[in-house]
């Protein structure tokens, strides 16, 4: 059945339908928490394995923790995707942003034997700072923007501070501090805001 319209009704209908495509974008806080805790745990455990246990393969916790975080993210992402009835432009922007980050991450990991693990970690800190900064801009959530800026500044400072570049353990501490600032704190704030908005 086709119903014809007058012009005023057409405009009202367009406005109502477009408004329906808005979503609470802050639902994605779980991914910041998963990756925030995963990187923090992996970084701290590597620090302990180097300085306390003095274990030779101190990097060993990274692949284990990252794989678990990757599986958890994939499962949650797929479940969300299945229950999602529409895809917003924000969803698409985030997908490409973090997809690009993953490609960059693997590139850095690939060249890390040549450039060294310390500089690699610093580059990764700067890059996830950049990702968080852009995400914050897309979601219009200031703590993410601030966390992203902080991580980028830390990465740049680290390059010029011998105390960091000369000690891999200090690079690990920098990584842990930056992940708390740019993922965990904004992630918990985002979750609290989501819960408040839902209440």
């Amino acid at each position: 059945m086709e119903t014809s319209l007058d012009e005023r009704k057409s405009l009202e209908l367009i406005r109502n339908m477009i408004t329906n495509g808005k979503r609470n974008f802050k639902e994605g806080s779980i991914f910041y928490l998963i990756w925030g805790w995963a990187v923090l745990l992996a970084g701290l455990s590597q620090y302990v394995l180097i300085n306390v246990v003095e274990y030779e393969n101190h990097w060993a916790t990274w692949p284990v923790i990252m794989t678990i975080a990757g599986i958890a993210s994939a499962v949650i992402g797929m479940r969300k995707g299945r229950s999602q009835k529409f895809v917003t432009f924000t969803d698409t922007a985030m997908k490409y942003l973090w997809g690009g980050f993953v490609i960059y991450l693997f590139t850095i990991l690939f060249i890390s034997p040549q450039i060294g693990w310390g500089p690699s970690y610093i580059l990764i800190v700067g890059m996830y700072g950049f990702g968080t900064f852009v995400s914050g801009g897309i979601l219009q959530f200031k703590p993410l923007i601030a966390g992203g800026v902080a991580s980028m500044v830390l990465a740049v400072l680290a390059i010029f501070l011998p105390i960091i570049t000369e000690s891999f353990s200090n690079v690990l501490l920098l990584l842990c501090i930056s992940i708390v600032i740019s993922y965990l704190i904004p992630g918990y704030m985002l979750r609290a805001k989501t819960n408040n908005d839902a209440a």
Partner: protein
């Protein structure tokens, strides 16, 4: 002289569908049906008309255990929608 309105868009349900798709990157059949408040059969018929005109693209896939129909507005549809909005604005403000 006032412009002629696109007859394909100047119909309540088709305009609802195009408006829904303008606001999102893609939407599935259920979302369109629930948001527009129309019946499954009616939505189906109008989607086909919009697809035939090249205003939308339709992709069919399989979800967990059910088929999923995902719709997306095309560049042709986006441009037709923009022209339509411009035209109705002229109807509402003929002096401009």
């Amino acid at each position: 002289m006032l412009p002629e309105l696109d007859p394909l868009l100047h119909s309540e349900l088709r305009l609802k569908i195009i408006s829904i798709l303008m606001g999102v990157a893609s939407a599935d059949f259920t979302h369109i049906m629930e948001t527009s408040g129309a019946t499954r059969g009616n939505v189906s018929v109008q989607l086909k008309k919009l697809e035939d005109a090249g205003y939308i693209s339709i992709k069919k896939s399989f979800g967990k255990s059910y088929p999923v129909t995902t719709c997306k507005i095309t560049d042709v549809g986006r441009s037709a929608f923009e022209t339509y909005v411009e035209s109705i604005s002229k109807y509402l403000n003929p002096d401009k």
